[in-house]
């Protein structure tokens, strides 16, 4: 019973809040009204039963609360759109078919005039319905700092008049890229260990795919996140990171892989070939056994040309090493200027180890250790270094 109520709340929060913001033109007022409506629902529904159309019920209740508040408070009225549309506004919205304005909301939250930190926090708060405390804990920030970040962002939206709308066509590609970047950032924060955020990002990704069904990159991102998330069980063994090559294939979530591939097919059918689609295609190949390394290397090459990213080149080097041997991989690695990136040195260490150049491998792993921040990553490097010392030096590759 409690879970169903939570599920309904989870599904409805973003939609109800988005429509309220669209209606009231004010984030704070909308948030307060939505919160009130959800509290009332939590009291009444367990006794009276969940209404047939929970969203409409919540919307009507929240709207009435907000309208009553505005009527009582003249100065508040002066600050909201309701002043311009006094009586009629109440009747214009048919609560049974209230508009889905979640897209308007996410584009507002991810507007480039807000800092990325603020974009992330605002998206999680408004669309995801996470509390300020939950967001603060997920990003290891004190709660007052996160609260301040949200207040500032909402204040700027209002003061600078950041529009509540889906951007026009000529702005859409850039703005959509910003939205997708925020969702992927949330996912990666979760992928690093905080599982709730990964689930949150997947939920946002699914919502976006539903709201923008014709955008290939939206499906590409969803596919990528699903295919990476399917690996979550295999990535850790007893709390320790497991390298891709050593991951137990039977631990992959096959249902999630199937969903991811379905999303990828949709993206490809739409003619998608953007960075998320290509990364999803690579993730899909990684889920096969044995892996098609030449194809993976080719796709990394494509992604590298497209993004010009040295980090992508590093991944390509790993794939090339599988196809043409460690020396070919090492040649790519040594061309990259990523000296402060611990993965570069970890990759060099692994390739040098395979080439039997143990001393240099050891040196590379040690360099990686000085640069790593994550504890699980550090322990993995320490294990690799220890294995290197345990093994006799080989002189043949």
């Amino acid at each position: 019973m409690v879970t169903t109520l939570e599920q309904v709340f989870r599904d409805q929060w973003g939609r109800v809040l988005a429509a309220l913001i669209g209606f009231l033109g004010d984030f704070d007022l909308a948030e307060e009204a939505a919160q009130e409506a959800f509290v009332i629902a939590a009291e009444r529904w367990p006794q009276d039963g969940t209404p047939a159309n929970p969203g409409a019920w919540l919307m009507t209740t929240a709207r009435n609360r907000a309208v009553n508040r505005i009527r009582r408070d003249r100065t508040l009225a002066a600050k909201t759109r309701l002043l311009q549309v006094p009586q009629a506004a109440e009747d214009t919205m048919d609560a049974t078919t209230f508009p889905d304005e979640r897209l308007e909301l996410i584009f507002t939250c991810c507007h480039p005039a807000l800092s990325v930190d603020a974009q992330v926090a605002l998206t999680l708060r408004t669309l995801g319905g996470l509390t300020t405390g939950e967001i603060a804990r997920a990003f290891l920030v004190p709660e007052p700092t996160m609260a301040q970040r949200l207040v500032r962002a909402k204040r700027k939206i209002k003061a600078a008049q950041i529009p509540f709308r889906v951007p026009p066509d000529h702005l859409l590609p850039d703005r959509l890229a910003a939205v997708l970047a925020v969702v992927y950032l949330i996912f990666n924060q979760g992928y690093g260990g905080r599982g709730d955020l990964a689930a949150e990002a997947l939920w946002l990704g699914r919502a976006l795919a539903e709201l923008l069904p014709d955008e290939p990159e939206v499906h590409g991102l969803l596919a990528l996140m699903l295919l990476l998330d399917a690996r979550q069980q295999a990535r850790f063994r007893d709390g320790e990171l497991v390298l891709l090559a050593d991951q137990d294939h039977s631990l992959l979530d096959t249902a999630e892989i199937a969903q991811g591939r379905q999303a990828l097919e949709r993206a490809l059918a739409l003619g998608g070939h953007g960075p998320y689609v290509v990364q999803a295609a690579i993730a899909s190949l990684h889920a096969d056994q044995p892996r098609d390394w030449p194809q993976i290397a080719a796709l990394y090459g494509e992604l590298s040309r497209r993004t010009g990213s040295p980090v992508v080149e590093l991944s390509r080097a790993v794939a090339v090493a599988e196809v043409q041997g460690p020396q070919a991989g090492l040649e790519i690695v040594d061309r990259l200027s990523l000296q402060d990136y611990h993965y570069l040195h970890a990759t060099r260490g692994e390739l040098l180890r395979r080439l039997g150049r143990t001393d240099q491998a050891r040196e590379a792993y040690r360099r990686a250790l000085t640069l790593v921040h994550d504890d699980a990553e550090r322990r993995l490097l320490q294990r690799q270094l220890a294995e290197l010392d345990a093994r006799p030096t080989k002189n043949t590759p």
Partner: protein, 113 residues
Amino acid sequence: MQYVLLIYHGTSLTTPLPEDEQKRIYAEWAEVNKTPGLTGGVPMGLPENATTVRVQDGKTLTTDGPFVELKEAVGGYAVLEADNLDAAIELASRIPAARLGGAIEIRPSETYW
């Protein structure tokens, strides 16, 4: 909604440009000035000739030069009446200084009294 656009030239005003490039910049400005809702500011001279005034303990102190560093000084301003921030961003991106190493700062106007 009213926005104040602060124009920062960076080093672009003091860097000599070929004549055709200079003409292009004037042409771009002419286009920008046609934008409905835009009211251009009074043209400002170089920050080198600025005088900065402070009052401390009732005493007026003047110093040579702008309040901030020379290359950080405001180079001009304009006022735009627009529907929302996106419209202001679109106009700002067409002001030549934005692509010449300078920048445009968009500030919403505010009523304080």
